[in-house]
Amino acid sequence: MTVTIRALLGASMLVAAAGAASAQTTITVATVNNGDMIRMQRLMPAFNAQHPDIKVNWVTLEENVLRQRVTTDIASKGGQYDVLTIGNYEVPIWAKQGWLMPLENLGADYDPADLLPPVAQGLTVDGKLHAVPFYAESSMLMYRTDLLEKAGLKMPENPDWEFITEAAQKMTDKGVGIYGICLRGKAGWGENMAFLTSMNNSMGGAWFDMEWKPQFNGPEWKKTLDTYLNLMKQYGPPGASSNGFNENLALFQTGKCGMWIDATVAASFISDPKESQVADKVGFAPAPVRKGGSNHGNWLWSWNLAIPATTSKADAAKTFVAWATSPAYMKLVAEKDSIANVPPGTRTSLYKNPEYLKVAPFAQMTLKAIEAANTQKPSDKPVPYTGGQFVAIPEFQAIGTAVGQQFSAALAGTASADQALAAAQALTTREMTRAGYPKK
């Protein structure tokens, strides 16, 4: 008898639980394997406590797989995802296609004005935010203070490429395995071309003129590539044509590099004594300029959360997106982990927080680099495109990677600088003509 009653009770409880579960909205979030995103997944209990009616499924993928996967889905209106993690390269392109939901009214305590202006600007189309950032970076120069001192040099406030060359030469000591400078060499639009496009901006160059004509036959690209090849061939590590961010990070952390110009996020890795052997000997400076110039390259990358226009769960998705990028979330990270782990580069308030400035010696330089980045006008010349270390047109992924392969070959020594530039000019002209530029 009691058994029956118990069984009945159990069954009715199960039914009740199932009823409660069905009132839940399940949203699927596609994201990258990025430290900040992994942390967010760990902090989900806090979100669930506030919003028991929303269940979040995570799909974490490698960046390139994610890009292909999410593009297929959104272009075919597959509707697999309710929240997408996309870069500031995709946001303006996708927003213009009408693929993204404009994000307004994200709640009373969201404070959109607190978002760093250059970052927010890159996500704004027709005056409306189409994605919100949870992480942003620019580029800067990271160097070994001890090696610079040994070389008898002092880091200027705004180093130029001539100074970098001189410093690289004096810091290099190949006998003990120290290379004056480490830069990206691996081919790809987000690999070596992110660095070289940005370097070319600082040299006063551009990808295209106002008629969308490629500029690889101009003096700026020539100067950029010559300087880069000279630096890397004389003072760079061996096998640099296959080095990307992670390879250079490993080299710098083990004391093999005198200088490294790359994403600002690297600063937190190289000054972490748990990971880096040189943590107490690193200094930071703005990304180099040309002599007398003031353009630091305008590198700006942000990872953002966006909601596809096709989702049927817009409200739940919006609630999640607002939570994940809110000031309250930053406070949560500071409480649960540490203030040093708050996602960088998105909110002004973080850089005004004295506690953060104390634990992150690179914070001021990061902020300065992001604020200096102007993605609306990346080059000193008038250009028909936006974007900093990339050109915000759909064709750029393919063209950028093809050009990157030419430049990587020049670094590996299988082609000369002039051959690489001529090939880049030819292939870019061909692809742009095929794509129908100049467009009206």
Partner: protein, 276 residues
């Protein structure tokens, strides 16, 4: 009389075989070793082979971060399901091609194989749309169907070559004794072709287990198998080699163990009919 083989030559051949085997196995061994290193040790430009501080922290992190069992279960269902479904279709197909070939059988076989010559990404969008409209996106059923299609040519080809080795007279004799078509296939042909069918089955389970294009592109959260589990551990900015190695080791371990236990069948099947 068998040709005499000198001791020196025998030793050289053995050494060479071991060398080649080790070379082929080395990436897996290295992945396995890396999974026990710290991230810093994993990217060291002077890596140590065995003498480092062995740690289990990568496995701990991977288990905390993702649901291994759910991915594992999806992999099992998808690879076994697609292989079994493929066999059910391929055994009769291969039977008819091997024993009652028509004028166009050879062309048919070639045509089936030609579907494997098209790069998968070429049909990604059409298949994606089909899956979307039939509601099969991110379902195990959808993946079982797609992987069956993808591997069917290989299954048919393998079975066809095995069946060709079986003398048709035996089947004729069975027919003389009054066996129906189904009992002929089930009781006469299949038992004789067991090694062939077993190796086809094993090879296809391995192929389906490792298939990463469709399994990544047609899944999101609920049907994602171990390939998606691995893909979540690569990162463009930040160190990931050790964690990725741990995830990979966990993903290939089941299939390696299966291969280990069934290697006898696998080798027998693959060399079936090679020596007469």
């Amino acid at each position: 009389m068998a040709r005499e083989v000198s001791k020196g030559r025998k030793a050289a051949v053995t050494l060479l075989a071991w060398g080649v085997a080790l070379l082929i196995f080395f990436p897996i061994l290295w992945t396995f070793l890396t999974s026990f290193k710290t991230e810093g040790e994993a990217i060291n430009s002077h890596p140590s082979f065995l003498f480092f501080d062995w740690t289990l922290e990568n496995y701990e992190t991977v288990n905390q971060r993702s649901d291994y069992l759910a991915h594992f279960w999806n992999s099992v269902v998808i690879s076994l399901g697609s292989t079994l479904l493929g066999l059910i279709i391929a055994v009769p197909a291969a039977w008819s091609m091997a024993f009652v070939p028509g004028k166009r059988t050879k062309d048919l076989l070639m045509w089936m194989l030609s579907t494997k010559m098209l790069p998968a990404v070429g049909v990604l969008v059409p298949l994606y749309l089909l899956a979307r409209d039939t509601g099969l996106l991110d379902t195990k059923t959808g993946l079982v169907i797609v992987l069956t299609m993808v591997n069917l040519p290989i299954i048919v080809w393998m079975l066809y070559t095995y069946f060709k080795e079986i003398p048709g007279e035996i089947l004729e004799a069975a027919r003389m004794d009054g066996a129906t078509l189904s009992s002929e296939i089930l009781y006469v042909l299949t038992p004789m072709a067991v090694p062939g069918i077993a190796s086809t089955l094993l090879l296809n389970v391995i192929l389906a287990w490792n298939e990463s294009f469709w399994t990544l592109n047609l899944t999101a959260a609920s049907a994602a198998p171990l390939t998606a589990f691995i893909a979540s551990y690569s990162s463009p900015e930040g160190l990931f080699y050790a964690k990725l190695s741990a995830a990979s080791t966990m993903a290939i371990a089941p299939i390696m163990i299966l291969g280990w236990f069934s290697q006898k069948q696998l080798v027998r099947g693959l060399t079936f009919g090679a020596v007469k």
